[in-house]
């Protein structure tokens, strides 16, 4: 029973802080709200028996990516409310468009086939042992390719960040 309440609480908090990310005036506040949203999503991972993924999610997103965002915002000196806003017409059309997307997605997924409750449910799939076995047995080539991707991203970021490219 407490799991259900926890799910509702985390879902409510993630939707509320997700909306506050979009509507916050100050970009620094947006980053902080997004960090809270990521923590609630990590809570959902724990509820779904993906404990290792929850830890990695907090480390990678809240620890690395959002610090990078904060660093860039401080570097660009955007921590004040100088942002020019779109016109009211554009804001209204953006809201209507995303609302329509939500309605279409919910309507199309409502009658999709459902998964019956698993009889022999394995609670250990989220542990690091099983994830490592799957990663290095079935996904070895994508794992290596992702390392090349990270190397390329690092080289690209360094080259873009240089003062002038000769």
């Amino acid at each position: 029973m407490i799991t259900t309440y926890l799910f509702y609480l985390l879902a409510f908090l993630s939707i509320m802080f997700g909306l506050m990310v979009v509507f916050a005036k100050n970009p620094v506040h947006s980053v902080l709200y997004l960090v809270i949203t990521f923590f609630t999503i990590a809570g959902q991972y724990v509820l779904l028996n993906a404990q290792f993924l929850a830890a990695v999610h907090i480390i990678v997103y809240a620890g690395a990516i959002m610090v990078l965002f904060l660093f860039v915002i401080m570097l660009l000196n955007l921590n004040k409310e100088t942002e020019p806003h779109k016109s009211l017409w554009l804001k209204l059309s953006a809201t209507i468009a995303s609302g329509l997307l939500l309605v279409v997605l919910v309507g199309s997924l409502k009658n999709a086939g459902t998964i019956p409750h698993p009889a022999n449910f394995n609670t250990n799939i989220g542990l690091i042992e099983n994830l490592g076995k799957t990663l290095f047995n079935d996904f070895l080539l994508p794992f290596e390719v992702s390392s090349i991707l990270l190397l390329a991203a690092m080289v690209g970021a360094v080259m873009l960040g240089k003062k002038s490219i000769k």
Binding site: T37, A97, L102
Partner: protein, 105 residues
């Protein structure tokens, strides 16, 4: 403590859909390029949540491994994207995406 026995998967699908729509709203609603990047992160996380939910309900750890790859791609995307944003800011002194309309004719 497992959510899988008490909560049907439709709730997770609904939550992911709402979070994804909030991300789309952020991309359409704001003009600050950094906020648009953050909304893209929110959309990626909605998809991650759905992958983890299906992986947990089907007792298959492949979905959770996919989440790792999405995280790697997101980290690479953020690093390159913020570097591009720094270049744009250095050249145009703003992070407003409406200044980036030179390719429009």
């Amino acid at each position: 403590m497992s959510a899988i026995f008490t909560i049907p998967i439709e709730w997770y699908i609904l939550l992911s859909t709402v979070l994804f729509s909030i991300g789309v709203l952020g991309v359409l609603f704001r003009r600050n390029a950094i906020i648009i990047f953050m909304s893209i992160e929110l959309m990626l996380n909605a998809v991650n949540l759905l992958l983890v939910a299906f992986s947990s309900y089907l007792s298959d750890s492949k979905g959770q491994v996919f989440v790792f790859f999405i995280m790697a791609v997101a980290a690479a995307e953020v690093a390159v994207g913020l570097a591009i944003l720094m270049m744009v800011y250095r050249n145009s002194k703003s992070s407003d995406i409406n200044d980036l309309s030179k390719l429009k004719w």
